[in-house]
Symmetry: D2
Subunit: 208 residues, 4 copies
């Protein structure tokens, strides 16, 4: 596992994930207050496990001295949206923030992967204050709808099982599920305006 | 708002929701440990707002002296499943528990409402220990897939906006969205066995 | 470490601690609402680590087949009170509950240990619902003031360091600290009535 | 209550308290990891209620247009320490941070108030990112031992009850309680080195 003290190595990433989760959850609450509708449905976060970091380093040919720059998702945040249209708004809000810097972006929503994977990834540099000083760490923010997330979770499990060599039968079924997820997002978009208006009314008068 | 002390009235319901959330989350963790796969994806809960209780009492013609028996969802728990097949398993597990009694059930999964609503509702009686003694309260447990939940949340908002008189145009679109949600659940079921096996492998070797 | 699956062995204790924490925190909130003053200041809980269970079993001569009955504090709850007088009230409330049974009690408040340790211990039997059925587990509830807790935490650390053979010098200092903690509790008790009245006023009009 | 939208006014303070709590709790964890002992025992935070803000503004003669600069503790963080010696260390760590600026300090530990109040206050300026841009807010960080905190909580309640005109009898008793709290802190300091060493051993080998 390499001689390093992994707890110390991971500590700034854990702190970053904790802070970023609080920040995006605050943003959700604030937007609900300001605009009665939030493009953010919910937020999760995790720090990559050591075994997964090592596996990815091997696959991407990243040397052990360059993990901090070579592996961009040691700190990972996932922002779930109700509608495809909300994703763009969240990306804009990230660009406007002064407490993190966008390094680069991958738009798998408009350019989905051959597998059917759809999501918007923003890699940011985030300065975190530790007891030993300020440290800048990379974090990956994945922005997706609930349908995209459902599909992606399942594809991830299957890839893991088959070591990325999915049987043709499974690939076909996954494609059909991806189509169904895409279709659901499309139908939802088509009634989006109605729904956004309805939820604004709703939030002010009742409880969900 | 009626002369009663609503905070005192609602208190046992709040405590029940807190306890039931802990219990169903524990069940999720335990099943992951025992069987490597949990039919429970996540759990939420809420106590109905006073304004919603009063509105429902008016609609159902429940007198103010019979709120505790007439309104069954003052305490509400929602259990989300990955697959339609998991719903039945969760219902069985509720029946086996000795810390709550099933009063009755509504199966809107096999008999979905005309609107397209699908979910399984179990009404239970739950004994909660207060500082003044034991009190038995009713609670509604809704069990549904993520796709069912997505659709239901949206339908709820639209009904609220239009006071249950949805324009024909919106009804048509909601039906299409319900079909897309149903289709997604079907596609997922068709690869369920693959996925359950994959997630069992996955849980033991990596992080999600 | 014994061949058993410790995660499975500890699972019902973890669930019990989670449920008991929720229940005593609810009790705190409820009493604040009903009486404007709660005898419970805050609540913590923990499951004993495997290494500590094994060490205690060795010391108490409990065989590995009898851990569940021989070690009473695998599940541990700590209830902190502002005043010595509150401890008795909490003990009474535990006796009145129907969701747990008192097995026996140890009153180290009126009969403090030679070391200076003061606390009230209640051993209860708590039925916990698991996926495999109901299981009754023992749990130890420690009730103490903040001053008692402060002293006890420190004594525990020192005992650990010196393997229960404290140097005479340290023993003398610990005794002085125990006296100071006792003195603080006494002074607080002497203005208790004033304070309880004041906090009732306070809770209704302002924020702490 | 003034015509303003208080929820919007308080929002940046709420977000600051959330972020600062996460940051000081992270610091606690990190120091335990790095040095086996943390000068921070636990951390709480709160946003001042509107009624208390207005009352303080009246008392300090702060105009309604200058609440943000005139009331320094709308956002309040409390850091509790085990030993008096830890307070200084926490103050140093705050000075070293780059994510907040110290505006000024009040040392009521070495210069306790006539009432017997002891605590160290650091007023900081904290930049918080909102959906509308960055906003700098003032926050008060109170650093104190558990004994200081216990006494202060009680004095606060009594002052509230008697509108700061405490009867002579109560004043005398509060002074005695302050002495007992001070004595406890002194006794604890006198065995501090022993205890810090013991807890370092302890943290690595067992569970508290």
């Amino acid at each position: 596992m390499d001689g390093r003290d992994w707890r110390k190595f991971l500590y700034p990433y854990e702190q970053s994930v904790d802070e970023l989760k609080v920040k995006f959850k605050s943003l959700r609450t604030e937007l609900k207050q300001l605009e009665d509708f939030s493009p953010i449905e919910f937020v999760t976060g995790r720090v990559k496990k050591v075994s997964s970091i090592l596996e990815k380093a091997r696959k991407l040919n990243v040397s052990m001295d360059h993990l901090e720059t070579g592996i961009e998702d040691i700190a990972g945040i996932r922002v779930m949206c109700q509608f495809v249209e909300d994703i763009e708004r969240v990306v804009e809000l990230i660009h406007e923030r002064q407490d993190m810097d966008v390094v680069y972006e991958k738009d798998y929503v408009n350019n989905n992967k051959p597998s059917g994977y759809r999501s918007y990834h923003v890699i940011v540099e985030y300065p975190v204050q530790t007891a030993l000083g300020v440290k800048k760490v990379l974090a990956e923010i994945q922005i997706r709808t609930l349908a995209m997330n459902f599909w992606a979770t399942i594809e991830h499990s299957l890839n893991y099982k088959y070591k990325e060599k999915l049987p043709k039968e499974v690939v076909t079924r996954l494609e059909k599920a991806a189509e169904a997820a895409f279709k659901l997002d499309e139908e939802m978009s088509s009634i989006r305006e109605e729904i956004v208006d309805a939820q604004k009314d709703f939030a002010t008068k009742s409880d969900l």
